[in-house]
């Protein structure tokens, strides 16, 4: 609607501009008529425009207020609870069903997602469908800005500051996103993806991810121990892994 309004104003201004510039040309031989508008005309126009501004403002405030109220998860969604506090200006719904809280951390040039059970993933955020997801944004280095088009607005991830947003994926699928704040050399490569799965798939993925992380950590631990055993006793090989 706002887009239609601006489109209308654009046509009005430019249409009038072209029409007047064509119509009142000197070569038509008309003498200019000096017109002076009375202040009343200006106030009338100003009043109309101010009314328009106030209407847009009120609509904007209403939408903003609604946008910060996290919707309750739907019937197909995850009915689990987590116990974190709300971020600034995000009002969690009252009731038993709490949204899923994800900690998203920006770092040059990756997004890291941490799930309530301590599992984590990079680049890909996997969420259950039809579930309200609250994303708590943070950063370990510079200011980043998280946005996945189609899933709510974009918000800054600032080191040592809390900020957040929420979204709800109505259907399963993949959503591409990126960072929208100039973040240095490889900022353009700092993309992200939200994968919305059914609740069963989500829980299976979570379990698999936890196992994978566990295995990877055990592998790394074994490598480190092997390295430590091979290292010379003098400690010349001091670079820690």
């Amino acid at each position: 609607m706002l887009l239609a309004l601006t489109g209308l104003l654009f046509l009005l201004i430019n249409g009038a501009l072209i029409a007047l510039a064509m119509r009142f040309r000197a070569r038509r031989g008309t003498d200019p008529r000096r017109i002076h508008t009375r202040p009343r005309a200006t106030f009338l126009l100003g009043g109309m425009l101010a009314t328009l501004a106030v209407i847009i403002f009120i609509a904007g405030v209403v939408v903003t207020e609604n946008a910060s109220d996290v919707e309750a998860s739907g019937s197909e969604g995850l009915q689990a609870a987590s116990s974190r506090t709300a971020q600034r200006d995000i009002a969690l719904p009252s009731g038993d069903v709490e949204p899923l809280q994800i900690q998203a951390t920006g770092q040059q040039w990756l997004w890291r997602y941490e799930y309530p059970d301590g599992t984590f993933s990079y680049y890909e955020l996997v969420v259950p469908v039809d579930t309200a997801i609250v994303v708590n944004l943070g950063s370990t280095d510079v200011v980043h800005r998280w946005w996945v088009p189609g899933l709510g607005g974009k918000f800054d991830a600032v080191p040592d500051q809390s900020n957040g947003t929420w979204f709800k994926a109505d259907e399963t699928g993949e959503f591409d996103g990126a960072t929208y704040q100039f973040a240095g050399a490889s900022g353009a490569a700092m993309r992200t993806k939200v994968v919305a799965l059914s609740v069963e798939d989500y829980e299976a993925w979570l379990e698999q991810q936890a196992t994978d992380i566990q295995e990877a950590q055990e592998f790394v631990q074994a490598e480190v121990e092997a390295d430590a055993a091979n290292a010379t006793p003098e400690g010349s090989n001091e670079e820690s892994p």
């Binding site: 501004a53 200011v143 607005g153 600032v158």
Partner: protein, 583 residues
């Protein structure tokens, strides 16, 4: 010394053993504190930085012409981006306006100089030094911290080279220069107007100079403060913007956005002032309501500055502040609407001569309308959450930049070039340039709107081929070539016309304000006699007086002397007739 056509043969001959040595023109200009020389320095430097910025813009568009391009290294791209945005905003748009103000305002208000001529000279050289610092850095490390060098990225922990320091120096010197010259203009306009030139009779371009200067007096020091703190953070272990020591990057965002919002307003307000002079001149009728236009300019400045947080809707700031910024930005509809209505009202029932300045002014209005309406969308918080920092935002500010700084600034250049050089700029080259700029702007920025809706981020050295991004960016890159060609045509026109343009005389457009009384180019003292001003259109009064004198039997006097006398007699001319005699 020019003798202004008066024979010198009867004057006593000056005899001196030590005549001042004739110095080359460029030394005269570089060491002069005359407002006309300072103004030309400012304008010349600004246009040079436009050409340099344009070159970098083309390189950036070339890189983005195809998805995942590897032509330019990421760091090189970031350097081009940082230097380009500083060039176009801080080193071109703002100083072009200030330079034109410096040249034209004293002439318009009937003053013989600025209030502080040496300060103007200092300001011009501080600014040129700042610009030179930025470009000399290409031989070692250019800045790479993006449009506004937001910490912590611009801190030594993440960018430990001289690039950011260069940026701080260049932008800091320029902000200081603009602030000083803004004070100069404010005092000049307040204190040095010709007798009878009340505020309500002040030409709109001079009025916009005063308003713009007040904006810069608020915005400039904010940036100097931010840059000083950033420098202390970088080199003296400061913690102003360090979140771990209870500083915050948000403070820097506030201060730097105050400055860049001021710069943004300086795309619009000076252009609005110039348009409000050019439209009446080429329509042969005044603005419908000068008071409404003047009040609108003041309101745009005040509300625009209050809306600086419009750039920070995604930051973690309390929602009440967002509403304040949104309210201020939305209320801008009122003054902008009144401004557009007055411009359209000037055209209505006029007698329009479609010369180059008029063409550029009309193009500026049209292009500004697109950009400002797009900004209206961005003013609404939830819409901004979607569109901010996508190429949609680039397109909106691109339209305002091309509409205000480029088309508006060029309109002013075409309009006052005859006053500055005594010659008119080439008309056909001007028309071609105008057509290319207008076409180029639309072809460059319309696809960017669409790419923004698909989520293409700003300021990235590459994007990925999702949706229609490939096609849209290719079109945009082709458009940028057309846009650049248009701008270069006007720069060529400017250069060529200084020596080979048609002789203009002192008043080629039949303007209504006092600068058209002075010779073209004006002598160092501007006016032999400063007339009393009796209306908002002093030149109209003078022309009427000359015509009446010619019609009367006492017509023996030369027109020159009539001009000088006319001021005393302008008030005897009662109701001026609506039509002007066709010359």
């Amino acid at each position: 010394m020019s003798t202004n056509g008066i024979s010198t043969s009867q004057r006593p001959e000056l005899v001196s053993d030590s005549l001042p040595q004739e110095r080359p023109g460029w030394i005269e200009m570089a060491t002069s504190s005359d407002h006309k020389d300072v103004g030309r320095l400012y304008v010349g430097a600004a246009l040079s930085f436009l050409a340099l910025g344009l070159l970098q813009f083309l390189l950036i568009r070339l890189q983005l012409a195809v998805p995942e391009n590897t032509m330019i290294e990421p760091v090189t791209f970031n350097r081009l981006l940082s230097v380009m945005s500083a060039s176009l905003v801080v080193l071109f748009a703002v100083p072009l306006a200030i330079g034109l103000f410096t040249y034209i305002v004293p002439l318009q208000i009937g003053a013989r100089s600025l209030a502080f001529p040496k300060l103007a000279q200092l300001s011009a050289w501080l600014y040129i030094l700042g610009g030179a610092t930025l470009y000399v850095s290409f031989v070692y490390t250019p800045p790479e911290a993006g449009f506004n060098a937001l910490p912590p990225l611009s801190d030594t922990a993440f960018l430990d080279n001289n690039g950011v320091d260069v940026w701080i120096t260049a932008v800091g010197l320029s902000a200081l220069a603009f602030t000083l010259q803004a004070v100069n203009l404010i005092v000049t306009i307040s204190k040095m107007r010709a007798p009878g030139l009340a505020w309500r009779r002040l030409p709109m371009f001079s009025f916009s100079a005063s308003v713009s200067s007040w904006v810069m007096v608020v915005a400039g020091p904010a940036m100097l403060a931010a840059l000083t703190m950033l420098f202390i953070d970088r080199h003296f272990n400061g913690v102003f913007f360090d979140p771990q020591e209870s500083g915050a990057p948000t403070y820097y965002q506030h201060l730097s956005w105050l400055f860049f919002t001021g710069c943004y307003l300086l795309f619009i307000i000076p252009a609005a002032g110039a348009i409000s002079e050019i439209l009446p001149t080429f329509s042969r009728k005044p603005l419908p309501s000068r008071g409404a236009v003047a009040a609108s300019l003041v309101a745009i400045a005040a509300l625009g500055m209050l809306a600086w947080m419009q750039n920070m809707f995604t930051a973690s700031i309390p929602v009440g502040f967002l509403y304040m910024a949104m309210a201020a930005a939305l209320l801008l509809i009122v003054p902008l609407g009144i401004l557009f209505a007055n411009w359209l009202g000037t055209l209505a029932f006029g007698s329009i001569e479609m010369r180059a300045p008029m063409l550029f002014a009309l193009g500026a209005i049209s292009t500004l309308s697109v950009g400002l309406l797009a900004e209206l969308l961005h003013a609404v918080v939830p819409v901004n959450w979607l569109l901010a920092d996508t190429t949609d935002a680039t397109a909106a500010s691109g339209y305002v930049f091309v509409g205000g700084a480029v088309l508006g600034g060029f309109a002013a250049l075409y309009h006052w070039f005859p006053k500055i050089t005594g010659r008119t700029m080439g008309e056909s080259l001007g028309r071609a340039s105008f057509a290319l700029i207008l076409l180029g702007a639309h072809v460059t920025f319309l696809p960017m709107f669409l790419a923004g809706l698909e989520g293409q981020p700003v300021d990235v050295y590459k994007y990925f081929d999702t949706g229609n991004l490939g096609v849209l960016n290719l079109i945009s890159s082709l458009g940028s070539l057309v846009l650049a060609a248009g701008i270069i045509l006007t720069l060529v026109n400017l250069y060529a016309s200084t020596t080979s343009g048609a002789r203009a005389g002192h008043d080629p457009w039949r303007g209504e304000s006092l600068e058209w009384l002075a010779l073209s180019p004006p002598p160092p003292h501007n006016f032999d006699v400063v007339p009393d001003v009796r209306s908002a259109e002093p030149m109209r009064d003078i022309r009427d007086a000359i015509r009446d004198r010619r019609a009367s039997p006492r017509a023996a006097e030369t027109p020159d002397r009539a001009v000088r006398r006319s001021s005393a007699e302008a008030d005897t001319v009662d109701e001026p007739e609506s039509g002007e005699p066709v010359a």
